[in-house]
């Protein structure tokens, strides 16, 4: 059964020309109180959450006719490949650009609820500050340490299987869905705590990606050490929520297990090296 068939068998047929309600958790800035506002949206054909928010931006009036400010949100590619537009929709974290209104609110007067991600500090309305997520990539040195950009010949040869494994891991768009769903990951506005608070599944998976690459492997020891300390791979409670919400279907629990094994081997090896 294709996704569409699955969708259509469970969903009602969308009512053309209907009006739906968008209930949005709003906040004017850090430290400001949150409030709910509801907007009435006339659904265009092919509407997604972004196009509804664009309507609100052009005409910021609530459902009960009160003038308000336009809702603020983050977006970029509009085709689920940049990760920017992630938010919590009807209680579930996902990208808003690929969230079709026909599927979420097929009937006249149906309501969709939008909230900012809860694991990151809110900047304004639906826009959150995910710098910590990029900081995590620095923490695990998520790069291949090449010898400069001048021409030195081609890279390592690689089997199609190895490429396929790396490719899937490399599709991670740093959206943060896996962090929003993780019970071990909590909001942390204080940047000085980012080196010791739980790093999250995405960065563990990136460490695995770079440890697989023949040149990237040179930093494997440093990556594993970064992940051995507080906030590293041992903080994962194995709840497996992360893998269920990853829009790119990245095998996060596999990555966590792989890094766990590598860490054990690395710890024993360094213990012997010390002795």
């Amino acid at each position: 059964m294709t996704t569409t068939q699955a969708r259509q068998s469970s969903a009602r047929r969308p009512v053309p020309g209907r009006t739906i309600r968008l209930r949005i958790l709003r906040c004017d800035g850090p430290g400001k109180p949150s409030r709910w506002e509801t907007f009435s949206i006339k659904v265009e054909s092919g509407a997604n959450i972004i196009s509804c928010l664009q309507q609100v931006a052009a005409n910021p009036v609530t459902a009960d006719g009160r003038a308000t400010t336009p809702v603020v949100w983050d977006s970029g590619c509009l085709e689920e490949v940049c990760g920017a537009c992630t938010m919590v929709i009807n209680g579930k974290v996902r990208q808003s650009c690929s969230c079709l209104v026909d599927e979420y609110a097929p009937g006249e007067g149906d309501q969709i609820t939008l909230e900012p991600m809860s694991k990151f500090p809110v900047v304004r309305d639906l826009w959150v500050d995910r710098s910590r997520l990029f900081h995590a990539l620095r923490r695990v040195k998520a790069w291949v340490p090449i010898d400069g950009t001048y021409h030195l010949g081609h890279g390592p040869r690689e089997s199609p299987d190895a490429q396929a494994t790396r490719y899937v891991l490399s599709e991670c768009m740093s959206c943060g869905c896996c962090l929003e769903a993780c019970p071990q990951y909590n909001v942390e506005p204080d940047a000085s705590a980012w080196d010791t608070s739980f790093i999250g599944a995405h960065a563990i998976s990136q460490a695995r990606l770079f440890n697989m690459h023949p040149t990237g492997r040179q930093l494997a020891g440093e990556r594993l050490e970064a992940l051995a300390g507080p906030g590293g791979v041992n903080d994962c409670g194995n709840a497996q929520n992360c893998v269920k919400v990853c829009p790119k279907h990245i095998p996060l629990t596999e990555s966590i297990a792989a890094i766990g094994r590598q860490s054990t081997v690395h710890a024993i090896a360094s213990w012997f090296a010390r002795g």
Partner: protein, 657 residues
Amino acid sequence: MTQRVIVVGGGLAGLAAAVRIAEAGLSVDLFSLVPVKRSHSVCAQGGINACNEVARQQGYSEYEHFDETIYGGDFLADQHPVLEMANWAPRIIDLLDRMGVPFNRTSEGFRDLRLFGGSLFKRTHFAGATTGQQLLYALDEQVRRYESQGSVVKYEYWEFLRPVVHEGVCGPRCVGIVAQDLRTMQVRAFRADAVVIATGGPGLIFGKSTNSIMCTGAAASRCYQAGAWYANPEMIQVHPTAIPGADKLRLMSESARGEGGRIWVPRRADDRRPPREIPEGERWYFLEEKYPKYGNIVPRDIATREIFDVCVNQGMGVGGENSVYLDLTHKDPDYLTRKLGGILEIYEKFVGDDPRHTPMKIFPAVHYSMGGLWTSFTPGSYTPAAPAPGHVSGTRAPIGSEIGMGLQPGAIENARTNIEGLYAFGEVSFAYHGANRLGANALLSCIFDGLFCGVGVVNYLRDGSPSKSPAGELDEAVFRRAAEQEERTLKRLLGTTGQPADERTNPYIIHKELGVEMTAACTVVREEGRLRQCLATIASLRDRYSRVRLGDLAAWTNQSLAFTRAVGDMLILAEALAMGAIERRESRGAHYRTDYPERDDAGFMKTSLAKYDAASGRTVLEFIPIDASLVVPRARTYGKKESAADPKKQAQAVGAT
């Protein structure tokens, strides 16, 4: 004070530049509207071109890649820079490979290749269906490495507002930028010894396009208003098959047609039945009818023009809207999944219909700007006595691919705008693609600019004006004045929030109307009368914009303010675009004029150059000669008859994005 370079833009071009400049030991300040990893370059799917060993042994060469690019661009590009880019391409692939890009592999573990438009040889390297994303991530990772060492400082969620241009003794020189933090709304001037603009394309001028939401062209327009020249503004590529959406037009690869997809509309414009209930006899397969030989696989520009004509001029689009059916439902669903799985999923994800069972609705969409900020170059060592005739596949190339044949390596004029110290890299520049870009050549040009022309920037700091008079030592007043000018603009916009906007003063509505008008007049089919009308519409939109009203007066994270400011800049660039389209009285590449259907080399094998007249706020257009010293122009026919007889080859050659 240490020398600093500002790079504005963190797409492929900006990141490649940042890496190269940081590697040379200089400090880089990297500005981007979004975290650089989320830049528009992530959208590219198809691949990146370069000569390779397999193709070489079949008679292909870097020279042929160069020749194809010039021919594909319909002889409008300056030729020396294109030669150097093609010569560099294999080295760029090697470098990306070393950085860990997961390029698809053959069973022996070599890099796999695919066929793309404009070539008979497999020369396109790819990483799954997300090549742009994979290349961007590889460069993003290298930048993160320099960021960890402190030599790159990122300013993400900062918007570039204008270059700071200092009137020195030897003419204008760029010594920094003014930018705004989009969260705190703080406006600040930053000093720099050189500024690289790598801000991508202007798709949003057309309202909806295949581009990301940040591709407004505002940054280019701001440089233009500050005195940088803008070249070939009229050269806009329109892709024939995109998926209309309420927010964006997403690309549908042409391989859908290659695999047997049929294009049609209901014969009666008012036929509202679901497509599969419309009997065969009441469907109009207009491409098959008009082009019995090629059918649905006519070349890309023809398909685009015909679909446009049926919908816009004849009003025959599906349901009265701008869309036609691209129908695959007559094919076996399993076969379709095997051949086209990835692209069909995109359609399914965003439209909610399964193309295996429901015909897709598609329409052409603005995709890429060949035009951009004008840049100069210093030619390399290859200077034949007379330009060569068109290259014949498999014959010996007149030259090898040594570095420095096309451009002089490290020359400080390479990729520099007419303003000293201000460089333009990537899609924002006009170099390389002439009147039409070949699929999979854009990613190449972006990275080439960063790597090759980045060295010129480094040399400029070492040997040029900054070595004698560093930006760090210039009078503070220069920077303060520039920042104050931007603050005045902001105050003016924020001061308009008193009364609510109406239809005429709402920035979102002004933008929407601009997009509709530009798409109608300035894309696929152009004609003088209609273009003049478009120019008048832009003028009236500019007039309305002068009274624009803002919906938000917040001093914190005010997105309406940023958007409204960009609309003003889009209007100015739109005018340059329409004027270029009017003045270029010929048809060439993507620019098709019904009133001048032929290419006119004597009159227009020239770069159209837009200059902004600050006093009147208007565009002044002129034509300047191009560098055509390497290849003689020839008619761009793609051997029409021959490829008609060989639909298989045609089918393979489509799919370019």
